[in-house]
């Protein structure tokens, strides 16, 4: 959906444009332009990548486990399995797998021709060590640790056969294992200890960490012995690129300017207006790769007043108007979502009717709920309490366009009598506000492969905070029916049954007016026309350059 016209922009890059047209752009996966391959890949060269994501504090994605780590780890670490564009799990380091009938035991047959870049052989023992590493509290794993919640232990059946023994059936196991946060590292590398391993984890990937200059760059060099691309890769053998120069450029405008100036070849997190301009002029290729898992959505805290009253939640959803805003702010680069799940997820269920704007209905509902008075500002009151919605926004997680959209939410909700109070907070303060339940509405991204993310976000277990205070169920959904459906779906081995259960769960969640879906988690890359063969992995949409090459 590209309806908004991006403002005209002078194109200074006519030359580059010509190259782009002549060379065509090869993009597997989710790509912008379907151009036919017309050239033979060229080996050599350094790809310069400018990342706007935060610089990881540790390059080992086992430690903690956030998206910036995944971005980098995808270049040098590999997982047991991957996913193709249709959402099917495909082989990677594991050639095949088989679950027992009770779903409590999974046997993975591993490739036997792979070595880590330090020479350590990849085998079942390595898998066991990695899973134990993830489950060791000392590793401080968060994402990976949660994903392995049902894994009791890993047994070495044979050098090339690893058996995962589960405490309960887990339909999401393969999806979990496909994520970079559960990638396999060299046991010898892990044995070096956290401090050293964080600097340069050792994997089996197409590139190797050569050096990390804090606040500046990570240098990656080609793994000349690379043999283990995922099943959907374009070519076998080592990467074409000699190296990747991965720079941290936090400022979006600087990043785009660097791309324009030819200083870098690929940027991530471009501003929507620059995407639109680049896409329209054809100066740069746009790789649009929404992240899997949840959509970007606003959660309504149903755990406390006023949103403990479903009518007030419904009124809010009816009052808020975001379509025009999304169009204008994202310049047509983001499509509206009506689902709790990313459009990448095959099991995503949408229900657009629920989110139609209807101010009269909002007013009626609020009147019905007892919010009948209004103060001088036009804010509704009930028993002397104003209808205030606190909305903490993390400046580290929301791009400017999204913050502007929230302002529009604020403005449209005001008409129905909601006083939305946005506070822009840095990450720590934002979590602080959430942990203290000082919010009525909030937007938090959550990336995970597969629909199991619903269990994390909406199962009542996720209301109970972890020792850190963290809880994922920000909407405070506490519905036994939803709990049951999500638990069943997570352990069902029959795909059809599982799909039905997830759809029913999503229907209930959406119907409960707990959330306002906005759009997919935006994840875009702009590529110089020189870059060919880059793609985003269909797992967590991190870029992969193992097939990429640079035109002369």
């Amino acid at each position: 959906m590209r309806t908004a016209t991006p403002p005209a922009r002078r194109s200074r890059t006519v030359g580059l444009l010509a190259v782009a047209v002549a060379g065509g752009v090869l993009l597997a996966g989710c790509q912008a332009d379907e151009a036919p391959v017309s050239e033979e890949p060229v080996a050599g060269g350094t790809l310069r990548y400018a990342s706007g994501d935060a610089e990881p504090s540790c390059l080992d994605p086992h430690v903690g486990g956030n998206y910036p780590q995944a971005l980098l780890a995808s270049q040098f670490l590999e997982s047991l399995v991957s996913r193709d564009e249709s959402g099917e799990i495909i082989p990677w380091l594991a050639e095949s797998w088989e679950a027992s009938a009770d779903g409590l035991s999974w046997e993975f047959t591993l490739r036997d021709d792979v070595e880590f870049t330090d020479g350590t052989p990849f085998d079942a023992e390595a898998v066991k060590v990695n899973m134990e590493h993830l489950q060791d509290p000392a590793t401080q794993s968060s994402t990976g640790y949660l994903a392995l919640g049902k894994v009791d232990r890993v047994e070495v059946v044979a050098p090339d056969v690893a058996r995962f023994v589960l405490t309960a059936p887990d339909s999401a196991l393969l999806e979990s294992l496909s994520q970079p946060w559960l990638a396999i590292e060299s046991p010898a590398g892990l044995a070096r200890g956290m401090e050293e391993n964080c600097q340069a984890p050792i994997g089996t990937g197409a590139f190797v960490v050569d050096g990390w200059v804090k606040q500046e760059r990570v240098s990656l060099v080609r793994n000349d012995d690379y043999v283990s691309p995922p099943a959907d890769a374009e070519h076998e053998g080592p990467a074409y690129l000699e190296a990747i120069d991965w720079r941290f450029v936090p400022d979006a405008a600087s990043r785009y300017a660097a791309l324009q100036g030819g200083q870098v070849d690929v940027i991530d997190n471009p501003q929507p207006d620059t995407i639109a301009a680049a896409d329209e002029s054809g100066a740069f290729a746009w790789l649009d790769a929404p992240r899997p898992g949840a959509s970007n959505r606003i959660e309504l805290n149903s755990g406390q007043a006023p949103f403990d009253d479903e009518r007030v939640r419904e009124a809010f959803l009816a009052a808020v108007e975001v379509d025009d805003g999304i169009d204008a702010l994202y310049f047509g680069t983001a499509g509206r979502s009506y689902s709790a799940l990313s459009s990448v997820e095959a099991l995503a269920y949408s229900e657009p009717e629920l989110f139609a704007t209807d101010l009269d209905r909002a007013d009626a509902l609020l009147d019905e709920a007892g919010w009948t008075e209004r103060d001088d500002d036009g804010t509704r009151m009930k028993d002397g309490t104003r209808l205030v919605l606190r909305f903490p926004v993390s400046t580290n997680q929301s791009v400017p366009a999204e913050q502007s959209l929230f302002e529009q939410v604020q403005a449209t909700a005001k008409e129905a009598g909601f006083d939305v109070q946005i506070s822009l907070l840095d990450l720590s303060s934002w979590y602080g506000a959430l942990f203290a339940h000082e919010y009525e509405i909030v937007s938090a991204p959550y990336t995970k492969v597969g629909p199991d993310v619903l269990r994390i976000l909406y199962h009542s277990d996720s209301i109970t905070p972890a020792p850190s205070g963290y809880f994922a169920n920000l909407a405070q959904v506490n519905d036994p029916e939803i709990d049951a459906l999500l638990a069943e779906a997570a352990s069902t081995s029959d795909p059809a049954e599982r799909a039905a259960q997830y759809e029913e769960a999503q229907r209930l969640i959406l119907g409960g007016h707990y959330l306002l879906p906005l759009y997919d988690q935006q994840n875009s890359f702009l590529l110089s026309p020189k870059v060919h063969g880059a793609r985003a992995l269909p797992t967590v949409s991190t870029p992969s350059f193992s097939d990429a090459w640079l035109a002369e």
């Binding site: 935060a54 610089e55 401080q140 660097a258 324009q260 934002w430």
Partner: protein, 331 residues
């Protein structure tokens, strides 16, 4: 003429002069050590006021889901379960040996981390200071003694320059010189060309400040009798500027340099972010976001150290440039 009660007339001979300088230096250094201690202490206790659990910050920040065992483990590892006083003296003890602790988020020694960062930031700050000096001198030399229009123009430029916010100036410079003209890269690359825009961003507002004082002291110097003497000796207008008045104009600039460096370090937080340069400012910003207390403390101490060193240096330079200071003595 009524005299001051003491110290007028003939200066003391060399020996007491040296003794006085040594005493002055000792006082300066003592003050410096005190300032560092106070900064460390203030920062230590201020940071205890921060809401949130340091153990949590160590375990991957606020969003992570550390287990209770992990939290306990970390608390005892980092001595966070000790009484505050014990922690304080432990910190002071470590500081004495140059140990700034270990970063919560990066898990590396803070000294090592900052050691790698400070070079870039100092280089940026010093280059900007130098550039600001040159710009300010050029502007003040150009705009003085040329009539009211030049003077008004000079003052106007100073005012505008001093009022420019860094982040905005940077955006404009990038739009013009990178995107528009393509002269300089928008992202610092470690090459001299990549340094131009960040340095310019920092230097222009500072030059605005410096030029204001320099112009005033230049005008002031131009009115001094020694200028009349020099002219009466046959010195040309240019000669007077470069042999005489420029030094006088530079004096307040020198004593401002300590403050200016601090000001530049403030600006570096913004500039390093925009131009994607590694450095203390960005490290600090990230540490603040992640509540990485050892790093925040380390940066604060380091900046205080830089300030203190700079203060001592500017004081010494000012005394060399202007021997009158050495005679009048400190406040």
């Amino acid at each position: 003429m009524t005299g001051r009660p003491a110290g007028t007339g003939v200066p003391a001979p060399g020996r007491t002069h040296r003794a006085r300088t040594a005493r002055h230096l000792a006082l300066l250094l003592g003050g410096a050590v005190f300032v560092l201690w106070a900064v460390a202490t203030l920062t230590f206790f201020a940071i205890r006021l921060i809401p949130g659990d340091p153990a949590q910050a160590i375990l991957g920040g606020p969003g992570s889901q550390a287990s209770q065992e992990a939290l306990d483990q970390v608390r005892s590892d980092y001595g966070l379960d000790q009484p505050l006083v014990v922690q304080y003296f432990a910190m002071l003890g470590r500081l004495l040996t140059g140990d700034l602790g270990t970063s919560y988020s990066l898990k590396v020694p803070v000294a090592e981390l900052l050691g790698a960062q400070i070079g870039g930031t100092l280089l940026l700050a010093v280059c900007s200071l130098a550039a600001a000096w040159v710009l300010a001198l050029a502007l003040s030399l150009w705009s003085t003694g040329r009539g009211r229009i030049a003077s008004a123009l000079g003052q106007g430029i100073e005012l505008v320059a001093a009022a420019l916010p860094h982040f905005w100036l940077a955006a404009v410079l990038i739009a013009v010189f990178s995107t528009g003209l393509g002269w300089f890269p928008p992202v610092a690359t470690g090459t001299p060309a990549g340094f131009v825009l960040p340095v310019t961003t920092l230097a222009i507002p500072l030059a605005g400040f410096l030029a204001q004082v320099m112009r005033e002291s230049l005008i002031d110097a131009m009115r001094q009798p020694f200028v009349v003497s020099a002219r009466a000796r046959g010195e040309s207008a240019l000669g007077i500027r470069f042999r005489h008045t420029i030094r006088h104009a530079a004096l307040p600039g020198i004593s401002l340099s300590g403050w200016a460096l601090g000001w530049l370090l403030s600006g570096a937080v913004v500039v390093e972010t925009i131009f994607a340069m590694p450095g203390l400012g960005r490290t600090l910003l990230q540490a603040v976001t992640l509540r990485d207390i050892p790093v925040v403390t380390g940066v604060v101490l380091l900046v205080a150290l830089v300030y203190v060193v700079m203060t001592v240096l500017t004081d010494l330079v000012a005394r060399i440039a202007d021997p009158r200071l050495a005679q009048e003595g400190a406040r």
